[in-house]
Symmetry: C2
DNA sequence: CGCCGCAGGCTTACAGTGTAAGTTTTCCTG
DNA sequence: CAGGAAAACTTACACTGTAAGCCTGCGGCG
């Protein structure tokens, strides 16, 4: 209802492609969320305040509250934006494992693109239409593959646990893969060898071995998928 | 009045003291962190402010900064406290899979006990001694099992991704397992059946099926472990 | 045309945050 | 007991989300 009105309003004041200095014309829930995403991408979620966001839209902070209930609601809208980039598995597809594989990779990539998103996606109740549609497609594909409700629930849980967990860990790791070797070499002298012998050995190895780089996400994800395939097979 | 207030506060927190008049409190890093953990457990991380924490210790906010660099440092100390409850796999153990299994279960349980902890554990750089010792023991056990550095890295990553991801998702799910059936039944009429057919079917099933309850964490975790075992076997 | 309602902007204000800077108290040691 | 260091305290500042209320310009109606 509120959305409908906002959309209608926007349509009315479509203002014939005005190139004027006043950019405040496009103030609605979606454009606010998009601007918020842009700020969070560029400067981090911590820097995203209502005032900062309003400023980027050429408006005062409190004006945002005409389009967004509160900051939490705004975060929900941002999650929806991210979720709109997720892949929805196709229930009609022949190869369900391939669908799920693609789903996982895309979610991982999309969250890497918006590094602030995993805590929000995994740490809140997200029941926007985009997210629900995503879930619906996923369940549909699993059902079509022969999973019953309980199995689909388990499968979905297992996959998403890994997807979110891996992405979150990857994002909070303080170094880029290309840096590993050099950083390891620098840390090595400061590591108490007798207190942490295995971590020392590990660091030593990292300092010298050529890092594989790619496919690290898929290493564990494939284990989950294979486990699911196996379970499906063993169960008719 | 200043004296009165001081006396009153001392009285409030006197339960843990040994009754000596000059003993105000054992205010050090550890006891501060423990108090912080207690508050976060009871009231949530959002309610944990420096002032609130200081108050619980019968002290002013700024006094904490004599023992803790800043709030982030405090969070680190809280993580260390949680990590002290993790299980350190034994490199000497015969059955490395059992060790890793136990490690995962314990980490999961420990984080459930401190629901605010997963975002901190997975979302920050935690290099306290407790956490490093935990990592060292884990690597040691994997090395002893025959993993080389790269494989151990992959294995460790895969396991922890699942552990953190699953725990985080479980914690942010808004209902308890026992409620599932009833909540599903209540939601069902509000779900747009034609827009979200599979989610509808799922909810319908949840409303009727008897929930398994236990072993949901292990469902996916076992897949990871089995995948690791298999990989180890195939590689001599 | 004039007027009115009101959506959506704006201003002000408040309680709360982390913490820098500076002051006072407390305690240990010589 | 003197002096100095450690630690607690006070004050202050910049910043947060947002409640309450005001103002303005636009669309619809008599």
């Amino acid at each position: 209802m509120q959305v409908d009105r906002a959309v209608a309003k926007k349509g009315i004041k479509s203002e014939a492609s005005e190139g004027s200095a006043r950019r405040k014309a496009a103030l609605d829930r979606r454009s606010i969320a998009e601007s918020a995403v842009r700020i969070a991408d560029a400067e981090g979620l911590a820097k995203l305040s209502m005032r900062r966001l309003a400023q980027s839209l050429g408006v005062e902070a409190m004006s945002l509250y005409n389009h967004v209930r509160n900051k939490d609601d705004l975060l929900g809208a941002m999650v929806e934006h991210v979720a709109s980039g997720f892949y929805r598995p196709d229930p009609e597809a022949a190869d369900w494992k391939a669908e799920m594989h693609r789903r996982g990779i895309r979610a991982h990539d999309q969250m890497l693109r918006h590094p602030w998103s995993p805590p929000l996606i995994a740490g809140r109740v997200n029941d926007g239409p985009e997210m629900l549609g995503y879930v619906d497609a996923t369940l549909g594909c699993l059902f079509a593959a022969g999973f019953d409700a309980a199995d689909a629930d388990d499968a979905w849980n297992a996959m998403d646990s890994y997807i979110y967990g891996y992405t979150q860990l990857a994002l909070s790791f303080p170094f880029q893969p290309e840096e590993y070797a050099q950083v390891a070499a620098e840390y090595l002298p400061h590591l108490p060898k007798e207190r942490l012998p295995h971590l020392y050995a590990m660091t030593e190895a990292v300092a010298t071995y050529r890092h594989k780089g790619m496919h690290r996400f898929e290493f564990g994800f494939e284990m989950i998928l294979d486990g699911l395939v196996q379970r499906r097979a063993g169960q008719g």
